[in-house]
């Protein structure tokens, strides 16, 4: 078991290392010189050279990488080129908002999807099952940002009940804070709900064919009891795995949704920084997204192996 965890940990570190190299080099391949962006139309060569030296921009790229990596390990992402505020402050202010959005939509979609998934697995090949399967396929085909636009059209333009975007601090106006969250959460949840329904269904179908379920049925235990007590308990682990992984996926999809709603999270920050060529922020944001994803994967794998010895000894 310890050997397995160590192996997975090393793999995760290699992956993270690879991500950091790729992110760093790609950012430096981008056209446009950030120093010119800072100085605008009347560049002063002396201070430009100073700035270059300050950010090690005059050194070769691989040297810049090691300076940068050293700082990253100390959680120092440098200062924003544009606002001169430390990236750490800017990013950490927003990471919670992005997480809140992802977390709320994860909860919402799980609450809706898990019961529906169980019922469709139980009534496999019924009309209900076929209907839900078509519906989920349809839900998987709707881009999140269009869902967002349609929701804005219905609830903000026509009904005028919810704000079309923006953000209110919870300590200023708690009700307004939640009102601003409803539409973004809904637009992320639709696709996620479909994914979870499908996953719960396939997992439950697998489990319902296991011998212990047959035995329980043969013993005359109530069908509902088998379904919710015996089968679902065993389905829970793979289902939680998937829900965990969709969290990583939702973080990515949020970049677009945050843009639709001008929700000041990590996604909108990244988008703005890309148009401003604010390298330190772009790097930090992508690394944080990747780091979260890798950590979630690692935890999920280890928990999975802890519970299912088959994987451990492969």
């Amino acid at each position: 078991m310890i050997k397995f965890i160590l192996k997975r940990l090393i793999l995760a570190i290699i992956t993270l290392f690879g991500v950091s190299i790729i992110v760093f080099y790609i950012i430096h391949m981008l056209p446009g010189d950030p120093v010119t962006v800072i100085f605008g139309k009347n560049p002063d060569p002396v201070s430009m050279a100073l700035i270059r030296a300050q950010y090690y921009l005059d050194k070769p790229v691989y040297v810049q990488y090691f300076y940068w990596l050293r700082d990253i390990v100390h959680l120092d992402f440098g200062k924003s080129f544009l606002s001169k505020i430390p990236v750490k402050e800017i990013v950490f202010e927003r990471i919670g908002r992005t997480f809140l959005l992802a977390f709320l939509s994860m909860i919402l979609s799980s609450v809706i999807a898990i019961p529906i998934g169980i019922i469709t697995a139980n009534k496999r090949n019924s009309n209900f099952d076929f209907g839900i399967s078509s519906l989920t396929l349809f839900m998987l085909s709707i881009p999140e940002f269009w869902t967002g636009l349609i929701l804005i059209m219905i609830f903000s333009v026509f009904l005028k009940v919810l704000p079309s975007g923006g953000y209110v601090f919870p300590n200023e106006d708690l009700i307004g804070f939640f009102k601003h969250l409803i539409l973004p959460v809904l637009s992320i949840s639709i696709m996620q709900t479909a994914i979870i329904i499908r996953m719960v269904r396939t997992t439950m179908i697998d489990i319902l064919q296991q011998d212990y379920v047959k035995l329980a049925t043969a013993n005359g235990i109530q069908k509902k009891r088998i379904l919710y007590l015996h089968a679902f308990r065993n389905a829970l682990i793979p289902v939680i795995t998937v829900i965990g992984l969709t969290l990583g996926y939702a973080l990515g999809g949020e970049v677009v949704v945050e843009n639709v709603f001008y929700y000041p999270g990590l996604g909108l920050l990244l988008f703005n920084s890309i148009s401003n060529r604010d390298y330190p922020i772009i790097q930090a944001t992508i690394l944080i997204f990747a780091f979260l994803f890798i950590i979630v994967n690692l935890i999920v794998d280890v928990v999975y192996a802890f519970i299912n010895p088959k994987i451990r000894y492969q």
Binding site: V19, S141, M153, F289, F293
Partner: protein, 278 residues
């Protein structure tokens, strides 16, 4: 075969939708009542009517014609991405699977790990900045994003095939690895490969639309459903009707490939399951 296709409702629906889309894309200059960049066909932001059934956009272009022409970009990107992933993903996957547990397998799998851990939209945004935003940058970005998926699917299919008797027989017969891969391994993984290709096409429609919507995909004046929505979003308060039709077009296109993928999976390999992530 034909009977199996007609019996399979999902496959049939998917085929009809996609054929419909291909016909529209090829003949859009005959079907569309106006050109995609023909200005002032009616007063700007005219609501849908008999002459302009989807309405008119903010500079007086016919929205219906632009949605029709938009199918071209969508299909071109989807086909490029599918071909790219087909070649790159199959190549990497079959190598990783055939030389299972070797250094090569490990390297390829680490590369897919890395690609998986960066959200797809970020790859797209960054690629649009390295290259010039356009059809090429979107296609390349989406190939980078979805090839690892294909590689993993092909790898696991290869693992299931490579120890079968006819492969062993070919090895004993003295065939070289290269010819074994191309003559025996890949043809026997073709089911999952085709299904995954269809799914990748559906994902790439979504991906292209999202990138174009953000302004880092296909650039105006070429109409894409994503750019149409980008324009429409700005006028959502005065002319909400503009938001509706390009979105429906995206949903129908994606749904078509999703149906096709699901239907083909039932037809080719009932055991194979959809990889859940885009």
């Amino acid at each position: 075969m034909l009977r199996a296709i007609i019996k399979n409702k999902k496959l049939l629906t998917g085929l009809i939708i996609i054929l419909f889309m291909i016909i529209i894309a090829i003949f859009s200059n005959y079907i569309a009542p106006y050109g995609y960049d023909q200005y002032n066909v009616a007063p700007r932001l005219t609501t849908p009517n008999i002459k302009n059934i989807f309405g008119v956009d903010h500079v007086g272009r016919d929205e219906f014609s632009r949605v029709l022409f938009g199918s071209r970009v969508t299909l071109i990107v989807a086909i490029c991405v599918a071909l790219g992933c087909l070649i790159l993903g199959t190549f990497l996957g079959v190598l990783a699977g055939y030389y299972n547990n070797s250094l090569l397998d490990n390297i390829i799998m680490r590369i897919t790990d890395i690609a998986f851990s960066i959200p797809w939209i970020l790859t797209g945004l960054v690629m649009a900045l390295i290259l010039k935003p356009g059809i090429e940058s979107v296609s390349i970005a989406l190939i980078i994003v979805y090839s690892p998926q294909m590689a993993r699917v092909v790898r696991s299919a290869t693992l299931g095939v490579k120890d079968l008797d006819y492969i062993t027989a070919a090895k004993i017969y003295g065939e070289n690895d290269f010819s074994i891969l191309f003559r025996y391994v890949i043809p026997n993984c073709i089911g999952p490969i085709i299904v995954q290709t269809m799914l990748i096409m559906s994902y790439s429609i979504l991906g292209e639309a999202a990138l174009s919507f953000l302004g880092y995909g296909v650039r105006p004046p070429i109409p894409s459903w994503g750019t149409l929505l980008q324009d429409a979003a700005k006028y959502i308060w005065s002319s909400p009707f503009l938001v509706i039709f390009p979105g429906i077009a995206i949903v129908v296109g994606v749904l078509g490939f999703n149906y096709l993928g699901d239907g083909l999976r039932d037809l080719l390999d009932p055991k194979y399951r959809r990889i859940f992530m885009r």
